[in-house]
């Protein structure tokens, strides 16, 4: 059924009686019809309602259920991985129900089409889009529920609904108050309401207020459940040996030593490698190291190393063969170029390295299955079980859990497919746990990138020519290969391979993957600009990594602008402002952070660096205070100014900015995944170091007061920090570092 067909059907619903209309709406996923999330894909399939609306419960839509005992259950459609949606989205519900967020019970949802994200159409969490996507729809869902409860209470109490108020899960009437649960049945029987009035910002009780996150107690007492905590009777653990070179297949293996380890149940070849199944994790881990595996590695990766990749990128940069012009503006060069710059900026492969290593648990019982995993999309978990255990999707229950970090990594859940295959083969409930080494070496990486900037500045300090060319791999073709099997689990692998091959040649030829270049052409005015892409893909698996393309484009752009300012001897804040007339909100954060920067270098031997960047529709400017001793770069303090529209929870906004700065500093100071003969060299935190408390700067976050719609928060704090530090290092040392990580010679 096409979307148009299902839209036509919504018009027919006026003819249906109330009860059946409600059922139709539920079954079709057009829950709370006025919601922006109105039409979902479930109208094409045979799935049941998202929430079991058994009698005695008020279930106005897929997000809310109010029980007869007055408990408000919020079925949270987005995954919590630290970014704060558990609190932020609950706050939206809480606001329209006038009920404190800590009085709302948050349910982590199963896979269901009603929970597709409005912007992507998939039940996925990412792109810093959760608050932006749900700010109005979830408030509307809660406001509709509020109005129905007030109507039901009014009828039941014999008073006009407008004499009643819903507050803290109670209905207030003068000095009397009643549990909302008392009116749940009556509210359930009323016609659905779609367009209840939303509260005005002046009436907000929770949005924009300083309220600690509601998951903090569980996360401070060891009681918050993560995927790795799934446990059950007879649960067996599995450890999988993967090919060191991506895409390698098992040629042969000898498991005799592994099988001799007490506690080992079996050693089994599966689609990703060789798995040891044992009664506990430790014997599985020990035994996995004892398997002798001979791998059939992809020939194209033999001899590929970080140095050869870089050399190939540099050769591609110097040649115009195969270039794709993404955006070009043919206006003639109007200004006399007073100053010119041409420079290459290098960013290596990076690992996400969330603290919770990849893991997934699957139990098969008859023709049904259950899966436990933290992910960035329960549908991917469900699809993996369908594909590798052969269980129909509607018979797979996904138990969503907290994720110990995501940063993009949990978009792919290969590990759940491994657990599904092993559960099918052994008939046992299986938990696959990746070691840190596997997590570091056998996953997906932020693509390495070489960005060349050619720019010129006229005598008025206007950047009149701007050419940016990026060489590197695209992420989207890889996504076709990874996501197609989970959203269309019955499609044969051959078709997936063909589709991803087509996607690759398309992206390498005539379609540009926006995520490869984002951030290179939006921020400044640039009257003459040319943005060029050259795809070079060695076959190292790539994936979205916190802030995606912005993580390397901001480095090139903000260092280049700083270099131009220094050449022309123009204040770097002033230069940015002169070139930022078409991006007033970015100009505003530059001005605010510029006040800190302009106070000059602070303490003795400390130097300031500045950078600003727009990403995920938010605008961020940062000032880094840096010192250098014995070639060691130390970042003491970062001031961060952010305009993200309405800050639903200012504390979480500050924490996300600060956290993204720490994440970006790890990349700027240490981050590097090296390739040796096609395999990843680093393996654990000793050679892939993460910023520690002793190295962490003080962070001061200033949030611009705004009534604009909320925009991204999880990622936009990251892009400016690398260039801000590099710009400070230049002032401290005179060395212009154009390679990440930043290393002084």
């Amino acid at each position: 059924m096409s979307m148009t067909d299902s839209l036509q059907e919504t018009k027919v619903d006026a003819l249906l009686s109330n009860a059946s209309r409600r059922e139709f709406l539920r079954r079709s996923g057009i829950v709370g019809g006025g919601l922006i999330v109105g039409v979902s894909l479930s109208s094409c399939s045979d799935v049941g309602p998202a929430i079991d609306a058994s009698k005695g419960k008020f279930t106005p839509n897929a997000f809310l259920q109010i029980s007869s005992d007055g408990v408000i259950n919020f079925h949270n459609p987005r995954d919590e991985m630290g970014q704060g949606v558990y609190m932020g989205l609950t706050t939206l519900i809480a606001e329209e129900l006038n009920t404190h967020p800590d009085k709302i019970n948050v349910v982590i949802v199963d896979a269901h089409p009603d929970y597709a994200a409005p912007s992507s159409g998939f039940q996925a969490t990412g792109g810093s889009g959760s608050i932006r996507d749900h700010y109005l729809p979830l408030r509307q869902a809660a406001a509709n529920a509020r109005e129905l409860l007030l109507q039901a209470a009014g009828t039941s109490l014999g008073v006009a609904a407008d004499k009643l108020r819903l507050q803290d899960a109670r209905i207030l009437h003068g000095s009397k108050d009643y549990s909302i649960g008392q009116f749940a049945d009556a509210a359930e029987a009323l016609p659905l309401q779609n367009d209840a009035a939303l509260k005005s910002p002046g009436q907000f009780l929770f949005i924009g207020k300083e309220i600690p996150r509601i998951d903090a107690i569980a996360k401070s007492t060891g009681t918050a459940p993560y995927g790795i905590d799934a446990d059950m009777e007879n649960l067996h653990r599995a450890v999988v040996r993967h090919s060191p070179v991506p895409g390698g297949k098992v040629k042969s293996f000898d498991a005799s030593k592994a099988k001799a380890v007490p506690g080992v149940v079996d050693v089994i070849e599966i689609h990703t490698g060789v798995a040891v199944v044992a009664e506990h994790y430790w014997p599985a881990k020990k035994a996995a190291a004892l398997i002798d595996v001979e791998w059939d590695s992809p020939k194209e990766l033999s001899g590929v190393s970080s140095a050869s990749i870089r050399a190939d990128y540099e050769a591609a940069m110097r040649s115009d063969e195969g270039e794709v012009y993404v955006e070009t503006n043919d206006a003639p060069d109007t200004g006399a170029a007073e100053y010119t710059l041409e420079a290459d900026y290098w960013s290596p492969y990076l690992s996400h390295s969330p603290m919770e290593p990849m893991n997934g648990t699957v139990r098969i019982q008859g023709d049904t299955a259950e899966a436990w995993a933290g992910s960035q999309g329960p549908i991917t978990v469900q699809g993996m079980v369908t594909r590798y255990a052969g269980i129909d999707a509607d018979k797979v229950t996904v138990h969503g859990l907290f994720s110990g970090g995501g940063f993009g990594r949990r978009a792919y859940v290969t590990h759940v497919g491994e657990a599904a295959a092993l559960a099918r083969i052994t008939g046992l409930p299986i938990q696959v746990v990746w070691s840190r080494e596997t997590d570091t070496q056998n996953g997906w990486f932020r693509p390495a990138s070489l960005v060349n900037i050619k720019a010129s500045l006229d005598s008025d300090g206007i950047i009149n020519d701007w050419q940016a060319k990026r060489v590197g791999a695209n992420i989207t073709p890889e996504m076709v290969a990874q996501i197609m099997p989970v959203v269309l689990p019955s499609v044969p692998q051959g078709v997936v391979n063909v589709a991803s091959g087509v996607a690759r040649s398309a992206h390498d030829g005539w379609i540009v993957d926006h995520s490869s270049l984002e951030g290179l052409y939006d921020d400044y005015d640039w009257p003459n600009k040319r943005i060029i892409h050259k795809s070079v893909n060695h076959g190292i698996p790539t994936l979205f990594w916190r802030s995606v393309g912005h993580s390397y484009t901001a480095f090139a752009k903000e260092c280049a602008v700083d270099e131009l300012a220094l050449q022309a001897n123009i204040d770097p804040i002033e230069l940015r402002l002169r070139n930022c007339r078409n991006n007033p909100r970015l100009a505003n954060v530059i001005r605010r952070a510029g006040e800190v920067y302009s106070k000059g270098d602070t303490e003795n031997s400390r130097f300031l660096g500045f950078a600003a960047h727009t990403s995920f529709q938010s605008h961020v400017a940062q000032v880094a205070e840096v010192s250098v001793a014995n070639n060691d770069i130390r970042v003491h303090k970062v001031t961060c100014v952010v305009d993200c529209g309405v800050a639903v929870n200012p504390q979480i906004v500050r924490d996300q900015m600060s956290g993204a700065i720490m994440f970006g500093l790890t990349a700027a100071l240490y981050g590097e995944i090296d390739i040796v003969n096609g395999a990843v060299k680093q393996s654990n935190f000793h050679d892939y170091p993460i910023l520690r408390m002793t190295e962490a700067p003080e962070v001061d976050v200033i949030i611009i007061d705004s009534a604009e719609a909320p925009t991204g928060v999880g990622e936009p704090g990251l892009p400016p920090i690398g260039p801000a530090v590099a710009n400070a290092v230049f002032r401290a040392t005179g060395q212009r570092l154009r390679d990440m990580p930043l290393r002084l010679a």
Binding site: G82, E356, P357, M693, A696
Partner: protein
């Protein structure tokens, strides 16, 4: 058969001697608060106390704890009865993903037991073995400094806490 005390309760385990304590605590005694992060003692997510001292349980063979007292995050406090550090952590909303926080809090508790008034630098040094990939370091540091500043009476639990027994689940 290794006998030891777990959160105040006498227990025993007959797993192989080289099994790291972390997996015994998590999978045999079902105390899931201590986390697996690196398996090499590099990140601190598995930190718990042995005779009051912070230890990385992912690299500690079970044989080492024979006759010793092991305290996990569950023994430090519960949502109903939080240790002052846990309480401050929650009030400040310190955790983001939260996965490393049990280990962070156990390192902090061991620090405050040994030194109830640490300087900022001493806090940083004591916490340097605990990685937080979300970068919650400013909040962690503030929570520890805040608890250290509590009056002696309020802070009694920090210096002299008694591990609470935790029922072993079936």
């Amino acid at each position: 058969m290794i006998r030891f005390t777990l959160n105040g309760q006498a227990v025993s385990s007959d797993v192989s001697d080289d099994t790291p304590l972390l997996w015994v605590v998590r999978d045999e005694f079902k105390l899931k608060g201590s986390k697996f992060g690196c398996g090499a003692g590099l990140c601190g997510a598995c930190t718990l106390h042995i005779d009051g001292k912070a230890q990385r349980s992912c690299v500690l063979p079970i044989s080492v704890v024979a006759g010793k007292a092991v305290t996990t995050i569950e023994g430090l406090g519960s949502p109903q009865e939080m240790h002052p550090l846990q309480k401050r952590w929650a009030e400040l909303g310190v955790p983001q993903c939260g996965y490393c926080q049990s280990g962070q809090i156990m390192s902090a508790a061991a620090l405050l037991s040994a030194n109830s008034e640490p300087t900022e630098e001493q806090v940083e040094q004591a916490m340097a073995g605990n990685i937080c990939r979300c970068g919650c370091y400013p909040g962690i540091k503030q929570a520890i400094m805040d608890v250290a500043k509590l009056s002696v009476t309020e802070n009694e639990a920090v210096a002299y806490y008694t591990p609470k027994s935790h029922e072993r689940e079936a």
